[in-house]
């Protein structure tokens, strides 16, 4: 049945070459854990992507209940976690996934570093990778404020103080992030929400696309 639907569409649209081009490619022996078990380190990039996908989807669902407003934010998180069915699971995915994605992207970076995969001709993809790392850290930082509890508030105070320690322009950065020179409050929460669910995910998508296109162009780096 599924086959026939596929064939029907393929007859008219010729979609086979499209997905073949995406999915059908050589996996060299030195990156295949079936040959060398230690090659599992090559999975870290894919695992990072997998968790990012979970973050995006679970985050989209969280926004069905979450409100970025200082009066209601905490209550809405409390409600979605304790009153909505499966709320603990959905928030749990996003909460634990947020830490895991940072761990995975770090392990992936280590793999690239220690296999020397950043060397010519792949320098540009290392640069894109570093930008991806920064975007993920940004997502983790801005997301942390959203539950609007004490931990969130004080973590953000520390983060903003770190931002303020940048030479010369630090104070401006802090004010721009917080939305106010002194208060961490209504404007901060609204901004962090906007950055967390719109700006950084948009940057993430663009960077991931560039990252993957470059990988397809250049192939996986050779064995050590």
């Amino acid at each position: 049945m599924l086959n026939r639907i596929y064939d029907w569409i393929d007859d008219r649209m010729d979609i086979t070459p499209i997905w073949r081009d995406v999915a059908d490619h050589e996996v060299p022996e030195h990156v295949n854990p079936a040959y060398h078990f230690s090659a599992f380190v090559y999975c870290f990039g894919g695992l990072t992507f997998f968790i990012v996908v979970i973050q995006i989807i679970s985050g989209m669902f969280l926004t069905m209940y979450y409100v970025p407003d200082i009066v209601n934010a905490w209550e809405s998180v409390y409600y979605l976690q304790n009153e909505v069915a499966a709320g603990v699971i959905v928030r749990g995915m996003h909460h634990w996934g947020a830490s895991l994605v940072v761990v995975m992207i770090f392990l992936h970076t280590l793999r690239v570093f220690f296999t020397g995969a950043y060397k010519a001709p792949r320098e540009l993809n290392w640069v894109v990778g570093v930008l991806l790392f920064l975007v993920i850290l940004g997502l983790a930082f801005t997301g942390y404020l959203l539950p609007w509890d004490m931990k969130a508030l004080f973590a953000t105070r520390v983060g903003l103080d770190i931002a303020a320690s940048v030479p010369f322009i630090g104070d401006w950065i802090q004010t721009l992030l917080a939305g106010d020179e002194e208060i961490i409050g209504a404007q901060t929460l609204a901004r962090f929400f906007a950055i967390h669910v719109f700006f950084l995910p948009a940057a993430l998508f663009v960077l991931m696309a560039v990252h993957f296109i470059m990988i397809r162009r250049q192939g996986i780096a050779g064995p050590l």
């Binding site: 989807i57 669902f61 209940y65 209601n72 409390y78 409600y79 979605l80 069915a85 499966a86 995915m93």
Partner: protein, 166 residues
Amino acid sequence: MSQKVTRRQFLNYSLMGVGSFMVAGMVLPMGRFAVDPLFQSDAEGSMIQTSISADDITEEPTQVDFSFIQQDGWYESEVTDFAWVYRDGDEIIALSPVCKHLGCTVSWATDDANPERFYCPCHNGLYEKNGNNVPGTPPTGPLDQYEVGVSDGYLTIGQIFPNELV
């Protein structure tokens, strides 16, 4: 059943099986999370006290305000609503002011040409005193009724229900 399963088929099935399991593990909780409003139980209704003495209710429909605490997800607030209340013999009748056409608010005897009817200004909807919609005007049904009671001599208002007077 003597058909041989090829290595490729076996791998395909195992991968699809494991894959579906993982996808289901993600999608089911999130799906259930999203459709939760369908499964939230209705708040049970208790009778709400008004400040109108049952003895003061006449045969003339009068606006009676009542307030209650509304729990809207994580947001709790005091909401004020009102009913058109009048006496019909021994009975007290409370009608909802929400027009059955498109939900505007109806009022008693505000149309000069229909002094004994409820009038909806939005599209000239008319209702009889018992809530029955006047044929030929836009509303498609009679005004809803409120459960009523008397407690310590004061009117109490309960759940809304479809009109049973017509």
